[in-house]
Symmetry: C2
Subunit: 320 residues, 2 copies
C-alpha cells in the first residue's frame, strides 16, 4: 500500500532522505551536509551567485502535468536558468517544500531525487532544505553558483548592441496553453542554457533569461540598462510546435508567451565576430533578433518594412 | 484607497521594492544586488552556512496573529535561529514570497521592510528574492551565514556532556495555543540567540535550536550523536507565562511545545568552568537541564527522584 506523508511524518521522512543523500558520493566542498540546522560549505574565491524561484501547484502547474521527478528537475532548471543568465554555474542548492499530508512519500522522494540528480548533472549539490505541511505542493529552491568569467547582469546594454536569443521561442507557451485547456500534451522542460550562458558572458554587455515572455524580459533589460530595444518580428526563432499551432500568429505569440527559459543577450558590434566563432559550441541556436537603440526603455517590435507591430500585453505577470 | 497587489502587478511591485532596497546603504560585499536574475556577492573565507525555513499562513500562523512587519521579522528570526545553532551569524538573505492578489501592497512592503530591517540589525543584507501569486501568504527565506569560530552541528554530543538550554521554554507554546483557540494574545517573536550561539559554539560538542519542542529537538541531537539524554523535569526553565497558564502541567508542556527558538547545547565537563565565565555575556539565561548518557538515542525526562516522567508526543511534526 502506498505510504502517505501523513503516515510517515515530517521528521521520519527527512531522516530517511538525509540517509540517502548522505550515502551519495562525498563532496569535499561540503563540511556539514543535509540534516543539521544549517549546511556548511567551503566558499570558492569567485563571486557567489544567489537566486531563488518557486514552482507552485495551481499557479505554475496543475496535478498531472508532470511526474514528480520531472517537477523536481524543473524546479532545479528554472533556478539554474537565472544563474545561466549571469554567466554562472550552480554549485549548491537548498530545497524548501510545502506538501499536503495526502501526498505519497514515494512521490516526494521522486521529486527530491529528480531535483538532486539534475543538480548533480550540472555540478551542484543539494545540501539542505525544509519541509512543511500545506494545502498544496509548493517547491521553492535556492541555488548558489559561481561564474568562471565575468558576472553579467541586466544592466549594461548600450545603443548599437545587437540582441541575440538562444534556442527557440513559443514551444512552452503553446504547451501550457493546451495544458490549461485540459488537453494532454507534454510540458517541455526548460532547456538549461548553462554552457551557452558561460560562453556568452565574456562577450555580453547584458543578459537575461526569458521566463516571462521575450518582450517583457527585454523590457527588464532595457529598464535596467536605460535604453530601448527594437526587435524584428520576422527574425524571431519561433518553435516549430508554435508555428504549427498558431500559423500567422506564431511570432506574435512567441514574443509574449512565457517559460521559454532561453537567454536574451546584448552584444556590442566588436564582439559579433567572436560570437560567430562560438556558435558551434553553444549547444543551441543563437539568433540575432534586433538591437539596442537610444531612448526611453521601451521594446518595439517591427515588421519587415520597419513598421511597429501591435502586440498585446508584454508577457506574464503573476498579478495582472 | 489601499492599493492591492493585483492592481500594481508583480513586476511594478518588484521594481519599486528594488528601488527602495537599492537606495539603502551601499555594501561593498554586494556586487549585484536585488533586481537582477541572481545576486552576486563577495564570498568570505570562512565556511559558508546555508539554511532555509518557511512561514505559511494557515500552517504557522493565521491572519491577524501578527502585523506584516512582524511576520517579516519572524521569517528572518526563524532562519537566523538555525544559524545561531551552528555558531554562525547571518550575512545575506533571499526572500521568496507567495501572496494573494487581494493583499495590500502596503502590507507586503511592510513585511519585506520588517525582514530587511531585522536582517540589517543582525549584520545581514537582503540581496534577492521572488514573488508569485498564490492562494495564501507563504514566506520562504534563505539565509547565508558565517561562523567566526568553529561550526557546531547536532552530532558530536558524548556521554558525560552536560545539557544546557538558553532562555525559557513554553512561552511561545502557550501563546500559540491561545491564538489557535481564537483568543487575542501577543505572539512572541523568537529571541534571536545569535550572540549566545557564537559564544557557546567554541565550548560545545553539539548544538541545536529548539523549534519543534525541547524533547523532539533533543531527540534529533541524540540521534545525530548516537547517544541518549536524561533531562531533569525540575530543572527546566519554564517561562512565567507558561507556569501561570498551566500550573503543575507547565514543565511537561514546556518540554514539548514548539517555537521557543532557544539553543540546546551539549558541553563537555572540562568546558563547564569556561561556560560559567560566559554567563553574563550571553544576553540570556543558561540553565543546566540534564546530561548525555551512553545508549540508544532516546530522551528520558526524570523527576526529582530520578524516576521517568511520562510525556506525551515528543513535539511538533508537520504531518503527525
Amino acid at each position: 500500500m502506498a505510504r502517505l506523508l501523513r503516515d510517515v511524518g515530517e521528521h521520519a521522512w527527512i531522516a530517511r532522505l538525509v540517509g540517502r543523500l548522505g550515502a551519495a558520493a562525498r563532496d569535499r566542498r561540503v563540511l556539514v551536509g543535509p540534516g543539521d540546522d544549517a549546511a556548511a560549505i567551503r566558499p570558492g574565491r569567485r563571486p557567489l551567485l544567489l537566486t531563488t524561484d518557486a514552482l507552485i501547484e495551481g499557479v505554475h502547474f496543475r496535478a498531472g502535468w508532470a511526474a514528480p521527478s520531472v517537477l523536481g528537475r524543473r524546479a532545479f532548471a528554472v533556478n539554474a536558468s537565472d544563474l545561466a543568465a549571469m554567466g554562472g554555474e550552480p554549485t549548491f542548492a537548498l530545497l524548501a517544500l510545502e506538501a499536503p499530508g495526502r501526498l505519497r512519500t514515494a512521490d516526494l522522494d521522486a521529486l527530491v531525487r529528480g531535483f538532486a540528480r539534475a543538480a548533480a548533472r550540472a555540478g551542484a549539490r543539494l545540501v539542505g532544505g525544509n519541509l512543511v505541511a500545506g494545502s498544496h505542493l509548493a517547491i521553492t529552491a535556492t541555488l548558489l553558483g559561481e561564474a568562471s568569467g565575468p558576472v553579467v547582469g541586466r544592466a549594461g546594454a548600450r545603443p548599437g548592441d545587437a540582441l541575440y536569443v538562444t534556442g527557440t521561442l513559443g514551444r512552452a507557451g503553446v504547451a501550457v496553453r493546451a495544458l490549461r485547456a485540459g488537453r494532454r500534451t507534454p510540458w517541455p522542460l526548460p532547456p538549461l542554457r548553462l554552457r551557452a550562458g558561460r560562453l556568452l558572458a565574456p562577450l555580453a554587455h547584458a543578459m537575461i533569461d526569458v521566463s516571462d515572455g521575450l518582450l517583457q524580459d527585454a523590457g527588464h533589460l532595457c529598464r535596467a540598462s536605460g535604453a530601448s530595444a527594437e526587435i524584428l518580428a520576422a527574425c524571431l526563432p519561433v518553435a516549430t510546435a508554435c508555428r504549427r499551432a498558431l500559423g500567422d500568429e506564431a511570432a506574435r505569440f512567441a514574443a509574449t508567451s512565457g517559460e521559454d527559459y532561453e537567454l536574451l543577450v546584448a552584444v556590442p558590434p566588436r564582439a559579433e565576430r567572436a560570437l560567430a566563432g562560438l556558435r558551434l559550441r553553444l549547444g543551441c541556436r543563437l539568433t540575432r533578433i534586433g538591437r539596442i537603440v537610444a531612448g526611453r526603455p521601451v521594446v518595439r517590435v517591427l515588421d519587415a518594412a520597419g513598421q511597429p507591430v501591435a502586440t498585446r500585453r508584454a508577457g506574464f505577470d503573476h498579478f495582472r
